[in-house]
Symmetry: C2
Subunit: 232 residues, 2 copies
């Protein structure tokens, strides 16, 4: 029946809501939240300005919806990879745990490559509203990393552990964000978009860094002192 055929075509076509989410994901990833106008998004999605208000209310809630669509699958993937490692029934290596944290976030596909960059870039965005939003959506994921890694460094004091975590996030988010800065040094032929290659170099980098010894505070390490001791 023609009516059936027509409705099937309608169902196969992507809804306005999803077209808006897809266009917003691409554009926010490329230009940041404040670098994209709602009108750019509706043009790319072939939609009307009011459709954004109807489906998402505000630009910020559209941004949030873009993130939420992928957040749960990513969380699930991390959980699955960690469990698969644990199922081996032996003590895990630090490198394996780092892999479980990074691989799901680094992985690219036709569907979520924009999300990978968006996640990295939005996580480094200074805007207070964006920072609040990221903390709201991803706080559980943030907590997973220290919870799992702390086991490997039980003797380490909190200050050192937190600084190493801080550096860890810098590496993870910067590689995810893939802003092209390294290409200004290494040249445009240097490809940072392949997750398997990234993991090959980032994991040994981070593993060695976490295992690094820090000189005890009392010791007179020349590195910790100021050059001019003039101001008290």
């Amino acid at each position: 029946m023609t009516r059936n055929d027509t409705s099937q075509v309608m169902e196969r076509a992507v809804s306005t809501r999803v077209r808006l989410l897809n266009a917003a994901e691409q554009l926010f990833a490329e230009y940041g939240f404040n670098g994209v106008s709602v009108r750019q998004i509706i043009d790319a999605a072939n939609a009307n300005l009011g459709a954004v208000t109807y489906h998402f209310n505000t630009k910020e809630e559209l941004f949030k919806a873009v993130l939420l669509r992928r957040a749960e699958p990513l969380r699930e993937e991390r959980r699955r990879v960690l469990e698969a490692l644990g199922a081996a029934g032996r003590d895990l290596e630090l490198e394996e745990v780092l892999w479980a944290m990074l691989e799901p976030a680094f992985r690219a596909s036709r569907r979520n490559d924009a999300y990978r960059r968006l996640l990295g870039r939005a996580s480094m965005d200074p805007t207070p509203e964006i920072r609040r939003l990221m903390a709201e959506i991803y706080s559980r994921d943030f907590m997973l990393v220290p919870a799992v890694l702390r086991e490997f460094f039980k003797g380490m004091d909190d200050e050192e552990f937190h600084w190493k975590l801080n550096c860890f996030y810098g590496v993870m988010l910067f590689v995810q964000a893939d802003t092209g800065k390294i290409q200004t040094i290494a040249g445009n032929a240097f490809d940072t978009s392949q997750p398997a290659v990234a993991l090959r170099y980032v994991i040994p980098f981070l593993a060695a860094a976490f295992r690094a010894l820090v000189a005890p505070k009392s010791g007179g390490s020349m590195l910790g002192e100021q050059k001019q001791p003039s101001d008290r």
Copy 2:
């Protein structure tokens, strides 16, 4: 004479141009280029909208002027520190070179604490215009790091060296940017604003990471492969 007194007061007062630069530096550091309006800046600087056009032409050129004011002194400071190390007349340690790269950028003072965060945050900004601007202003500084570090790892192939550089920038810029993300894990009492403390932990982290061995490509490193060892 009252005229003299008045003119001295006038001279002691900061010029509109400098008030605009100071206000813009603070606000851009906090909210990012696109997160601040010119009208916010002129309110904070007690200036008029037209004064921005007169002194800087556009918002983007005001942003550029904010960066340029501090860029040359920072470059000079890096050069000075490197030379002071070289003057010791011996082979440098990797840690000393890292210190020369990081300390001038991390150092905080009443005058440039906002600049430190602005530099880190703007360097991670995805907006194409900002990226172009940063490359234009700081390309020389970018090049200094690989030029100096390459000497320590002459046997390392380019791919590995560039990936390690990529991670290095992630750590440096994220620590500089000081976005407060780590505080959502470590708590608000965790202080990341002290350059001497940051250097104490970041330098051993990076030094160990740079020295880390990466398994050769041909070798069967389990980390480079997919999770399921089913094949073979």
